[in-house]
Symmetry: C2
Subunit: 129 residues, 2 copies
């Protein structure tokens, strides 16, 4: 891989991460899942049973359709085909507002689609506003 090919890959990954956070905030499960490769895996939180494939991943994101979310990227690091990013999600569910700042770890294919996602956070990281 040449330097410019590597730069282009990094740029594709960066674009997908931003699109991911925008899609989570917009809250349409199918649109979020469309950023994943067909046979991608999702572990949220890391260590839980992985969800495999687009249908299972879409199902997972149905949860965000019932809530109002805003997202903010805090720190993004990219190396090779891996991204790790620290971000804030503020969730309004009924009268309650929750805030959490996970670190997600994603890998990507050559088209910049997410091939795996592992969300690193614990319930104790969640704050009620």
């Amino acid at each position: 891989m040449t330097v410019s090919e590597a730069d282009a890959r990094t740029q594709r990954i960066r674009t997908t991460v931003h699109a991911y956070l925008d899609a989570v905030a917009a809250g349409v499960a199918a649109d979020i899942a469309a950023l994943y490769a067909d046979d991608a895996t999702l572990e949220d939180p890391a260590g839980s049973e992985p969800r495999v494939g687009r249908a299972a991943i879409t199902e997972f994101y149905k949860g965000v359709e019932a809530t109002e979310n805003t997202t903010e990227l805090l720190t993004l690091r990219i190396a090779g085909s891996t991204a790790a990013f620290h971000f804030r999600v503020v969730t309004k569910a009924g009268e309650q507002t929750y805030e959490i700042e996970p670190i997600d770890v994603m890998t990507f294919d050559d088209e910049g689609r997410i091939t795996s996602m592992r969300a690193v956070w614990a319930p104790s990281d969640m704050r009620v506003r």
Copy 2:
């Protein structure tokens, strides 16, 4: 695994991450490598050829023996047997001082030893002070 077993695991991982950053700052390669399991893997940066096993990992950290480093934990997230943490390393090498804030992703065995490490950062993230 009971809740208290899970809490104990989280605490062991937290202790190892702090010990890791302290050991990197202290700068003795063998002491850093001692925090890894015997057959651990290390990818720094993520996507590079993994170093496998204690000897190769010790060799990797010889680099920190030639420089003066300070470390600071910025954010630590733990889920199951995975930790992701954002930290700052300030390195003095001769007259130059460099600063970088990677996100490292580690997995751990039941004794809290590191079984894999992937450092997510790019040369462009490095700043000269």
